[in-house]
Point group: C2
Chain length 362, copies 2
Amino acid sequence: MTSSSDLEQIESRIVSLVKDFAFPHADDSIASSCRPIADMVATQAVTSSEGGKRLRALLTLDSFRAFASKDVLERDFDALLDLACAVEVFQTGALVHDDIIDDSDLRRGKPSAHRAFSTDTHSEAIGHGLGIMLGDMLATASVDIADKAASKLTYGSDVVAALLNMHREVEVGQILDLAVELNSLDDPNELVEASLNVFRWKTASYTTIAPLEFGMLAAGLSKDDARRHAVAVGLPLGLAFQLADDLLDVVGSSRNTGKPVGGDIREGKRTVLLADAINAADDGQRRELIDMWEADSRSETQVQRAIELFGQTGAIARSRNRIADLWHASKSAIDALDLSEYRKSPLVEACARFVPDIRANA
Amino acid sequence: MTSSSDLEQIESRIVSLVKDFAFPHADDSIASSCRPIADMVATQAVTSSEGGKRLRALLTLDSFRAFASKDVLERDFDALLDLACAVEVFQTGALVHDDIIDDSDLRRGKPSAHRAFSTDTHSEAIGHGLGIMLGDMLATASVDIADKAASKLTYGSDVVAALLNMHREVEVGQILDLAVELNSLDDPNELVEASLNVFRWKTASYTTIAPLEFGMLAAGLSKDDARRHAVAVGLPLGLAFQLADDLLDVVGSSRNTGKPVGGDIREGKRTVLLADAINAADDGQRRELIDMWEADSRSETQVQRAIELFGQTGAIARSRNRIADLWHASKSAIDALDLSEYRKSPLVEACARFVPDIRANA
């Protein structure tokens, strides 16, 4: 694994791919009076693409390394790099839409795309419209990048279909996420089930399952084998990743810079942590939690009190156990793969990036 | 040309394709508490797909008939029907996003998707979020349908790339359309140029150019030839179609049922008609028009007055001339194609559907 150099290659490739796609092409006729806005959107496409951890692109490359023969690895690495970037470009587009849906002002420490557009055009309506379109453009770009990459791969025939399935799964996940907002908080078991279900669709789909699947497909595994193995390893890993992310929001340290502790609570997000807390709470605590989450907003005192209750009810410990169990399941699935030790252990390392706490405590 | 039976086949195929794609698949695990919302979105996907004139799908089929050999026509017609439907599914998704951007309550006489969702969930925010996601899902579906269709076509290799280019062009067009809203009305020549530019990207791209191109590609024309011919015929045709549509909004009769006359004026849309009127107006009329369009809204009296001014300034006559010239250019481009008369004349008929007035007056 040469992640740091992978990371550099991914970064520069993403910028060049997004520029190629989002800026008007040389032979595109754009009326001169409209060009400033077209250029503003293209520039924002690049800005919005910056600053990710690129975990998904890295996993795509590492999955390919684990499964590809030496020949295919050398011949197809460059095309695979594009495919890995397609996942990141998809994510950027999904986050642009996500920020509109959640009405978020910030993304990765900078103004969210629709907010930046609203400021620049002095119009909320036009800013939102341009944001919806930027998200659409990046979604189209991700398929376009993958389609071109697939045509260069030795084993590229099922790649576009897998990528489109990933798009669909995340879109379903976003719909389920909105559905959870409408559910009652009175049935915590239902909330746990629904939240894990959202994680499967909205997070695991494109964070771990699809990157593993793309690497395997490009290495020549059959469509069915790639799917089966990618789900076996990637589903528990993706769930663990999202649980760890939610946990970090509550017990976070300087490691998760830029994100104030308790952000999810402040937003009233319905998490597995909350469900576990409601589930294990006594009647008074349960009422307290439900009242807080049913209110329109939560004060800083309430955020601190909620974190306290997450600890007291054992929800935090429960989450750590959930993460450990899921990581164990993911590792067992890797163990069951027909891979030499030489290929298996870098894959375990690559997957461990998604659960940093586990790795630190291991 | 067997359009009426084409139309029936297109209608039923669209419904079955959208159902296949939008409803959770049999092996999809959806938490039971979230299923009602997932089903609501899937049902709306079908509702939003109903009621179009299917001009784009029909043109795709007719372009294929004009260019394909008898063998290919018979062998590939079924796959081509799917490809034709992919254009319609794309349009439905684009209109769902368009209605959010324009904050439109109605679409084809029914509540727009995001408005229906807002009503059903009793939440504007969730309704908008679900609307954005439905648009995303339908965009993904259109590529998925085309990708599967392309794999069955004898000449399918360039079809997905052409479809993705169509997606990109319409997204650029939507961005340019928003940009025009920000332009000054003081330079009518600039407004004409910008409006025609929006028509090229937002309308001609997927209404005429892409359907012609898909039919030609599937018939076996080279990528470059298909593109060149499709633009030569489809660009003037698509511009004429949009000009005719805008004209119908002003001089419309019972033929354009469901649409109240002057809707574009009421919304303050910046059209070529408006630009032509401002261009030919005297100082007083010009001031009157600009004041009306710079206001937040227009009264019924003002709408009638604007229509009167469009007539008095000669803008309506100018538009009719523009449409006739563009239709002539499109027909000349068809004439220049290397096609037998037997194939040429049904193609002219198919294209004439996009400019019904011309046909009636011919």
